[in-house]
Symmetry: C2
Subunit: 172 residues, 2 copies
Protein backbone atom coordinates (compact mmCIF):
# COMPACT_ATOMS: atom_id res chain seq x y z
CA UNK A 1 0.00 0.00 0.00
CA UNK A 2 1.59 3.21 -1.15
CA UNK A 3 -1.28 5.54 -0.46
CA UNK A 4 -1.90 7.22 2.88
CA UNK A 5 -4.36 5.63 5.25
CA UNK A 6 -6.99 7.79 6.93
CA UNK A 7 -8.88 7.71 10.21
CA UNK A 8 -12.65 7.43 9.88
CA UNK A 9 -15.04 7.80 12.82
CA UNK A 10 -18.70 6.70 12.92
CA UNK A 11 -20.48 7.99 16.00
CA UNK A 12 -23.89 9.25 17.17
CA UNK A 13 -26.99 7.66 18.64
CA UNK A 14 -28.48 6.22 15.44
CA UNK A 15 -28.46 2.70 14.02
CA UNK A 16 -25.80 2.07 11.38
CA UNK A 17 -22.36 2.59 12.92
CA UNK A 18 -21.16 -0.99 13.24
CA UNK A 19 -22.97 -2.02 10.06
CA UNK A 20 -21.28 0.84 8.15
CA UNK A 21 -17.91 -0.49 9.27
CA UNK A 22 -18.85 -4.04 8.24
CA UNK A 23 -20.05 -2.80 4.87
CA UNK A 24 -16.71 -1.06 4.45
CA UNK A 25 -14.96 -4.31 5.43
CA UNK A 26 -16.94 -6.11 2.72
CA UNK A 27 -16.08 -3.51 0.08
CA UNK A 28 -12.41 -3.54 1.09
CA UNK A 29 -12.31 -7.33 0.97
CA UNK A 30 -13.91 -7.13 -2.47
CA UNK A 31 -10.93 -5.08 -3.57
CA UNK A 32 -8.54 -7.70 -2.17
CA UNK A 33 -7.67 -5.69 0.93
CA UNK A 34 -6.99 -7.47 4.18
CA UNK A 35 -9.28 -6.38 7.02
CA UNK A 36 -9.07 -6.82 10.79
CA UNK A 37 -12.11 -6.13 12.96
CA UNK A 38 -11.63 -5.85 16.70
CA UNK A 39 -14.81 -5.46 18.72
CA UNK A 40 -14.53 -3.80 22.09
CA UNK A 41 -17.12 -4.23 24.86
CA UNK A 42 -18.83 -6.92 22.75
CA UNK A 43 -18.44 -10.57 23.62
CA UNK A 44 -21.93 -11.77 22.78
CA UNK A 45 -22.94 -13.51 19.61
CA UNK A 46 -23.70 -11.49 16.50
CA UNK A 47 -24.82 -13.04 13.22
CA UNK A 48 -21.89 -11.48 11.35
CA UNK A 49 -19.56 -13.76 13.32
CA UNK A 50 -21.06 -16.70 11.43
CA UNK A 51 -20.39 -15.35 7.98
CA UNK A 52 -17.17 -13.35 8.20
CA UNK A 53 -15.05 -16.52 8.35
CA UNK A 54 -16.30 -17.30 4.82
CA UNK A 55 -14.54 -14.17 3.63
CA UNK A 56 -10.92 -15.16 3.70
CA UNK A 57 -9.44 -11.66 3.92
CA UNK A 58 -11.48 -10.51 6.92
CA UNK A 59 -10.51 -11.47 10.44
CA UNK A 60 -12.64 -10.67 13.47
CA UNK A 61 -11.99 -10.82 17.20
CA UNK A 62 -13.97 -9.75 20.26
CA UNK A 63 -12.52 -8.03 23.30
CA UNK A 64 -15.47 -7.97 25.60
CA UNK A 65 -17.60 -10.15 27.80
CA UNK A 66 -20.85 -11.83 26.93
CA UNK A 67 -22.93 -8.94 28.25
CA UNK A 68 -22.89 -5.17 27.99
CA UNK A 69 -21.48 -3.01 30.74
CA UNK A 70 -24.31 -2.23 33.13
CA UNK A 71 -23.46 0.78 35.23
CA UNK A 72 -19.84 0.45 36.20
CA UNK A 73 -17.29 -1.54 34.22
CA UNK A 74 -15.93 -4.54 36.07
CA UNK A 75 -12.25 -5.37 36.37
CA UNK A 76 -12.83 -8.02 33.77
CA UNK A 77 -14.31 -5.46 31.33
CA UNK A 78 -11.23 -3.30 31.78
CA UNK A 79 -8.80 -6.19 31.39
CA UNK A 80 -10.50 -7.44 28.19
CA UNK A 81 -10.41 -3.98 26.64
CA UNK A 82 -6.80 -3.26 27.61
CA UNK A 83 -5.63 -6.59 26.24
CA UNK A 84 -7.65 -5.93 23.09
CA UNK A 85 -6.10 -2.53 22.59
CA UNK A 86 -2.61 -3.96 23.08
CA UNK A 87 -3.34 -6.62 20.48
CA UNK A 88 -4.78 -4.07 18.06
CA UNK A 89 -1.75 -1.80 18.52
CA UNK A 90 0.42 -4.68 17.26
CA UNK A 91 -1.95 -5.37 14.40
CA UNK A 92 -1.99 -1.70 13.38
CA UNK A 93 1.81 -1.56 13.47
CA UNK A 94 2.32 -4.86 11.68
CA UNK A 95 1.15 -3.71 8.26
CA UNK A 96 -0.49 -7.11 7.79
CA UNK A 97 -3.91 -5.50 7.37
CA UNK A 98 -4.94 -2.67 5.06
CA UNK A 99 -8.10 -1.75 6.96
CA UNK A 100 -8.41 -2.00 10.75
CA UNK A 101 -11.79 -1.53 12.41
CA UNK A 102 -11.95 -0.64 16.10
CA UNK A 103 -15.63 -1.37 16.69
CA UNK A 104 -17.14 0.30 19.79
CA UNK A 105 -13.77 1.78 20.77
CA UNK A 106 -15.68 4.98 21.57
CA UNK A 107 -17.70 3.09 24.15
CA UNK A 108 -14.49 1.73 25.65
CA UNK A 109 -13.23 5.33 25.90
CA UNK A 110 -16.55 6.49 27.36
CA UNK A 111 -16.29 3.90 30.15
CA UNK A 112 -12.59 4.71 30.58
CA UNK A 113 -11.59 1.10 29.87
CA UNK A 114 -8.50 2.70 28.34
CA UNK A 115 -7.50 6.32 27.77
CA UNK A 116 -7.66 8.40 24.60
CA UNK A 117 -3.86 8.71 24.76
CA UNK A 118 -3.52 4.93 24.61
CA UNK A 119 -5.84 4.73 21.61
CA UNK A 120 -4.08 7.64 19.90
CA UNK A 121 -0.70 6.02 20.34
CA UNK A 122 -1.91 2.77 18.76
CA UNK A 123 -3.46 4.64 15.82
CA UNK A 124 -0.52 6.99 15.26
CA UNK A 125 2.01 4.15 15.34
CA UNK A 126 0.23 2.25 12.59
CA UNK A 127 2.05 1.11 9.49
CA UNK A 128 1.90 3.34 6.44
CA UNK A 129 -1.25 3.13 4.40
CA UNK A 130 -3.42 1.50 7.06
CA UNK A 131 -6.99 2.84 7.09
CA UNK A 132 -8.51 2.96 10.60
CA UNK A 133 -12.23 2.94 11.35
CA UNK A 134 -13.42 3.77 14.87
CA UNK A 135 -17.07 3.28 15.78
CA UNK A 136 -19.35 3.81 18.75
CA UNK A 137 -21.45 6.48 20.43
CA UNK A 138 -19.85 9.33 22.32
CA UNK A 139 -16.71 9.85 20.22
CA UNK A 140 -14.64 12.29 22.30
CA UNK A 141 -13.78 15.67 20.76
CA UNK A 142 -10.06 14.78 20.72
CA UNK A 143 -10.79 11.82 18.43
CA UNK A 144 -12.97 13.97 16.16
CA UNK A 145 -10.11 16.47 15.95
CA UNK A 146 -7.65 13.72 15.07
CA UNK A 147 -9.88 12.01 12.48
CA UNK A 148 -9.90 12.69 8.75
CA UNK A 149 -13.55 11.77 8.29
CA UNK A 150 -16.37 11.82 10.83
CA UNK A 151 -19.99 10.84 10.27
CA UNK A 152 -22.56 11.30 12.99
CA UNK A 153 -25.36 8.76 12.75
CA UNK A 154 -28.33 10.70 14.12
CA UNK A 155 -31.41 8.89 15.23
CA UNK A 156 -34.40 10.55 13.58
CA UNK A 157 -36.77 7.70 14.37
CA UNK A 158 -36.25 4.26 15.89
CA UNK A 159 -38.57 1.33 16.16
CA UNK A 160 -37.47 0.46 19.69
CA UNK A 161 -39.79 3.25 20.77
CA UNK A 162 -42.52 0.96 19.40
CA UNK A 163 -41.25 -1.84 21.59
CA UNK A 164 -39.34 -3.71 18.88
CA UNK A 165 -36.54 -5.71 20.48
CA UNK A 166 -33.19 -6.58 18.90
CA UNK A 167 -33.77 -9.17 16.17
CA UNK A 168 -31.40 -11.87 14.99
CA UNK A 169 -29.97 -10.94 11.58
CA UNK A 170 -31.04 -7.31 11.86
CA UNK A 171 -29.67 -5.96 15.15
CA UNK A 172 -27.62 -8.95 16.26
CA UNK B 1 -40.74 -15.40 8.63
CA UNK B 2 -43.51 -14.81 11.12
CA UNK B 3 -42.35 -11.51 12.52
CA UNK B 4 -43.24 -8.17 11.01
CA UNK B 5 -40.77 -6.54 8.64
CA UNK B 6 -39.89 -2.88 9.10
CA UNK B 7 -38.84 -0.05 6.83
CA UNK B 8 -35.41 1.43 7.59
CA UNK B 9 -34.09 4.59 5.95
CA UNK B 10 -30.47 5.76 5.88
CA UNK B 11 -30.11 9.29 4.57
CA UNK B 12 -28.04 12.45 5.04
CA UNK B 13 -24.88 13.87 3.48
CA UNK B 14 -22.30 11.79 5.38
CA UNK B 15 -20.36 8.68 4.36
CA UNK B 16 -21.85 5.40 5.57
CA UNK B 17 -25.32 4.96 4.07
CA UNK B 18 -24.65 2.30 1.45
CA UNK B 19 -22.04 0.62 3.64
CA UNK B 20 -24.53 0.47 6.54
CA UNK B 21 -26.94 -1.37 4.27
CA UNK B 22 -24.22 -3.76 3.12
CA UNK B 23 -23.18 -4.42 6.72
CA UNK B 24 -26.81 -5.20 7.46
CA UNK B 25 -26.89 -7.52 4.45
CA UNK B 26 -23.85 -9.31 5.82
CA UNK B 27 -25.40 -9.66 9.28
CA UNK B 28 -28.68 -10.89 7.82
CA UNK B 29 -26.86 -13.41 5.62
CA UNK B 30 -24.97 -14.56 8.72
CA UNK B 31 -28.34 -15.39 10.27
CA UNK B 32 -29.34 -17.37 7.17
CA UNK B 33 -31.63 -14.69 5.81
CA UNK B 34 -31.92 -14.17 2.07
CA UNK B 35 -31.02 -10.67 0.94
CA UNK B 36 -31.67 -8.79 -2.29
CA UNK B 37 -29.80 -5.56 -3.02
CA UNK B 38 -31.01 -3.37 -5.87
CA UNK B 39 -28.86 -0.36 -6.62
CA UNK B 40 -30.54 2.57 -8.32
CA UNK B 41 -28.62 5.23 -10.28
CA UNK B 42 -25.45 3.11 -9.95
CA UNK B 43 -24.15 1.12 -12.88
CA UNK B 44 -20.43 1.60 -12.35
CA UNK B 45 -18.15 -0.92 -10.72
CA UNK B 46 -17.92 -1.13 -6.93
CA UNK B 47 -15.62 -3.53 -5.11
CA UNK B 48 -18.55 -5.10 -3.23
CA UNK B 49 -19.76 -6.50 -6.55
CA UNK B 50 -16.69 -8.75 -6.59
CA UNK B 51 -17.31 -10.30 -3.19
CA UNK B 52 -21.08 -10.49 -2.76
CA UNK B 53 -21.36 -13.46 -5.17
CA UNK B 54 -19.27 -15.44 -2.66
CA UNK B 55 -22.09 -15.04 -0.16
CA UNK B 56 -24.71 -17.38 -1.46
CA UNK B 57 -27.71 -15.79 0.23
CA UNK B 58 -27.08 -12.26 -1.06
CA UNK B 59 -28.08 -11.23 -4.56
CA UNK B 60 -27.22 -7.86 -6.06
CA UNK B 61 -28.37 -6.03 -9.18
CA UNK B 62 -27.75 -2.56 -10.55
CA UNK B 63 -30.39 -0.37 -12.16
CA UNK B 64 -28.30 2.52 -13.37
CA UNK B 65 -25.84 3.50 -16.02
CA UNK B 66 -22.07 3.51 -15.78
CA UNK B 67 -21.93 7.15 -14.69
CA UNK B 68 -23.78 9.37 -12.24
CA UNK B 69 -26.55 11.67 -13.34
CA UNK B 70 -24.94 14.99 -14.19
CA UNK B 71 -27.54 17.74 -14.19
CA UNK B 72 -30.61 16.35 -15.80
CA UNK B 73 -31.46 12.64 -15.90
CA UNK B 74 -31.45 11.19 -19.40
CA UNK B 75 -34.23 9.05 -20.80
CA UNK B 76 -31.99 6.09 -20.26
CA UNK B 77 -31.56 6.98 -16.54
CA UNK B 78 -35.32 7.11 -16.17
CA UNK B 79 -35.90 3.85 -18.03
CA UNK B 80 -33.26 1.97 -15.98
CA UNK B 81 -34.77 3.19 -12.71
CA UNK B 82 -38.37 2.45 -13.69
CA UNK B 83 -37.47 -1.05 -14.83
CA UNK B 84 -35.52 -1.54 -11.61
CA UNK B 85 -38.43 -0.44 -9.46
CA UNK B 86 -40.78 -2.77 -11.35
CA UNK B 87 -38.38 -5.66 -10.76
CA UNK B 88 -37.98 -4.79 -7.09
CA UNK B 89 -41.76 -4.56 -6.65
CA UNK B 90 -41.96 -8.19 -7.81
CA UNK B 91 -39.09 -9.18 -5.53
CA UNK B 92 -40.69 -7.46 -2.53
CA UNK B 93 -43.98 -9.17 -3.22
CA UNK B 94 -42.50 -12.60 -3.88
CA UNK B 95 -41.43 -13.33 -0.31
CA UNK B 96 -38.29 -14.98 -1.68
CA UNK B 97 -36.08 -12.52 0.22
CA UNK B 98 -36.18 -11.61 3.91
CA UNK B 99 -34.27 -8.34 3.55
CA UNK B 100 -34.58 -6.09 0.50
CA UNK B 101 -32.23 -3.14 0.10
CA UNK B 102 -33.19 -0.28 -2.22
CA UNK B 103 -29.82 1.41 -2.44
CA UNK B 104 -29.91 5.06 -3.60
CA UNK B 105 -33.67 4.93 -4.08
CA UNK B 106 -33.77 8.37 -2.43
CA UNK B 107 -31.57 9.73 -5.21
CA UNK B 108 -33.90 8.19 -7.78
CA UNK B 109 -36.78 10.00 -6.05
CA UNK B 110 -34.80 13.23 -5.88
CA UNK B 111 -34.27 13.14 -9.66
CA UNK B 112 -37.90 12.10 -10.20
CA UNK B 113 -36.85 8.90 -11.97
CA UNK B 114 -39.97 7.49 -10.36
CA UNK B 115 -42.49 8.94 -7.93
CA UNK B 116 -42.83 8.45 -4.20
CA UNK B 117 -46.24 6.88 -4.83
CA UNK B 118 -44.65 4.22 -7.03
CA UNK B 119 -42.03 3.44 -4.39
CA UNK B 120 -44.66 3.39 -1.64
CA UNK B 121 -46.82 0.96 -3.56
CA UNK B 122 -43.90 -1.44 -4.06
CA UNK B 123 -42.97 -1.27 -0.37
CA UNK B 124 -46.53 -1.56 0.95
CA UNK B 125 -47.32 -4.54 -1.27
CA UNK B 126 -44.37 -6.52 0.05
CA UNK B 127 -44.80 -10.01 1.45
CA UNK B 128 -45.21 -10.35 5.21
CA UNK B 129 -42.05 -10.15 7.24
CA UNK B 130 -39.88 -8.53 4.58
CA UNK B 131 -37.49 -5.91 6.00
CA UNK B 132 -36.90 -3.00 3.62
CA UNK B 133 -33.85 -0.74 3.68
CA UNK B 134 -33.88 2.48 1.65
CA UNK B 135 -30.69 4.52 1.30
CA UNK B 136 -29.52 7.76 -0.27
CA UNK B 137 -29.39 11.47 0.39
CA UNK B 138 -32.47 13.63 0.34
CA UNK B 139 -35.02 11.17 1.72
CA UNK B 140 -38.35 12.93 1.20
CA UNK B 141 -40.46 13.73 4.25
CA UNK B 142 -43.19 11.33 3.09
CA UNK B 143 -40.71 8.44 3.23
CA UNK B 144 -39.51 9.49 6.68
CA UNK B 145 -43.12 9.56 7.83
CA UNK B 146 -43.72 6.09 6.43
CA UNK B 147 -40.50 4.55 7.81
CA UNK B 148 -40.14 2.74 11.13
CA UNK B 149 -36.49 3.67 11.59
CA UNK B 150 -34.56 6.60 10.15
CA UNK B 151 -30.91 7.43 10.65
CA UNK B 152 -29.43 10.61 9.27
CA UNK B 153 -25.75 10.24 8.44
CA UNK B 154 -24.42 13.73 9.07
CA UNK B 155 -21.09 14.75 7.65
CA UNK B 156 -19.06 16.29 10.46
CA UNK B 157 -15.79 16.13 8.58
CA UNK B 158 -14.81 14.60 5.24
CA UNK B 159 -11.43 14.05 3.69
CA UNK B 160 -12.56 15.05 0.23
CA UNK B 161 -12.13 18.61 1.44
CA UNK B 162 -8.44 17.70 1.66
CA UNK B 163 -8.54 16.60 -1.97
CA UNK B 164 -8.78 12.87 -1.29
CA UNK B 165 -10.47 11.19 -4.25
CA UNK B 166 -12.63 8.06 -4.14
CA UNK B 167 -10.38 5.06 -3.47
CA UNK B 168 -10.89 1.49 -4.60
CA UNK B 169 -11.94 -0.66 -1.63
CA UNK B 170 -12.86 2.34 0.51
CA UNK B 171 -15.29 4.49 -1.49
CA UNK B 172 -15.78 2.27 -4.52
Amino acid sequence: MEERGYVQVYTGNGKGKTTASFGLALRAAGAGKRVFIGQFVKGMHYSELDIVPKLETIEIRQYGRDCFIKKEPSESDIRCAKEGLAEMAEILKSGKYDVVIMDEANIALFYKLFSFEELKQAVCNRAEGVEVIVTGRYAPQELIDMADLVTEMREIKHYYTKGVEARVGIEK
